[in-house]
Amino acid sequence: MRGRCLIGLVDILLITLLAATALVIIAVRDLFAAVMLAGIFSLISAGLFTVMDAVDVAFTEAAVGAGISTVLMLGTLMLTTSRERRGTARIQILPLIVVTLTGAALIYGTLDMPIYGDPQAPVHHHVAPEYIADSPHEVGVPNIVTAVLASYRGYDTLGETTVVFIAGTGVLLLLKRPRREAGAEPTKNTSGDQNQTASG
């Protein structure tokens, strides 16, 4: 009972920290700092996934969200600029109203949800018990998540691979094109000054 209570406390602390990080990311104007905070955000969420028993999700999030995403964003900052322009970072009224209304509606929606960790919640009654009961006999892998990912829902993983392939192709096409016509116009605007390409 005591350990369970402590886990609840850890959950509350981590998720509060997560919300605080998100709000700081909005406020901060230096893009480099924002990217670093996004990495921290991913790492905290990975810890939170561990607390919520999703260990596979946690290490995927730590590797992909905190690792690869941060590297990609830093690469982008290196190729573009690392400073958000000053005028854009003020609070805007209309988006704030839209967001507040939507958030209020969503929170009203959560009041009907089963509370966190409720074993009687409808989610736990349909497909998942069969996976837990049958996957040891039908697949033979101790990790149920692996069994479902690779066997029961193998087509999902195939689709995921397709999406990653298409995205990779898209990235290559987008980044390759200017190099072919590189002789015609000045590309690679690393310093981010606006006059150069505005005239050209």
């Binding site: 609840g8 939507t102 998942a128 998540v145 995205a167």
Partner: protein, 189 residues
């Protein structure tokens, strides 16, 4: 008893709205993508929160796998050999094992293990727990975990594509601020 109750879902809504606000109010394209990431993580958090069962453990089977799983028999064998010293003491008091299970072990087992290989007491206890029913060990729901694993990988793929677009836009326009791009593009229909 300190339990999060609905608190997780409220923070999920706050995160979602934080990402949404960044998406619609910020003109900087990289900032927009970071907002999109926050939005995605909030959805992940919603799903994983729903999959948690109070007092549950991660959905990795504890104890013995059924006899036809080869990895399981090897694992049992490992446990045996590591507890070699205590073997004789526990051999007498340990309950009889499943016939097919001991068969699997015996066919794989090396000759130096003596004739009555037994599981370690902890393993036997776990097997007993498993046999008595699902009420003793509760696993959290594995299905949301699987869906979110797929979503994370797809999410980083779309982020990469978006960042490549940002780099390309910067090469063409020399800026990643949305309104400056609009000023340079007056011919838009």
């Amino acid at each position: 008893m300190l339990s999060p109750g609905l608190y997780n879902y409220w923070i999920v809504v706050v995160l979602m709205m934080a990402g949404f606000y960044t998406l619609i109010s910020r003109g900087n394209l990289v900032k927009k993508l970071i907002g999109l990431n926050i939005f995605q993580v909030s959805v992940f958090m919603l799903y994983i929160s729903m999959g948690k069962v109070q007092g549950g453990v991660a959905p990795i089977l504890i104890g013995e796998m059924p006899a036809h799983g080869h990895a399981a028999t090897h694992a049992a064998h490992d446990i045996d050999s590591s507890h070699d010293l205590h073997h004789d003491v526990h051999a007498k008091e340990s309950p009889p094992r499943h016939p097919n299970e001991s068969e699997g072990v015996l066919s794989d087992v090396l000759p130096q293990i003596d004739a009555s290989p037994s599981l370690s007491p902890a393993a036997v206890q776990l097997a007993e727990l498993q046999k008595t029913g699902d009420a003793t060990i509760v696993y959290s729901n594995p299905l949301p975990h699987v869906l979110i694993l797929t979503a994370i990988v797809v999410g980083v793929a779309t982020t990469a594509l978006g960042l490549a677009l940002v780099v390309r836009i910067n090469e063409q326009y020399g800026t990643i601020e949305e309104d400056e791009i609009h000023v340079m593009d007056p011919e838009q229909p």
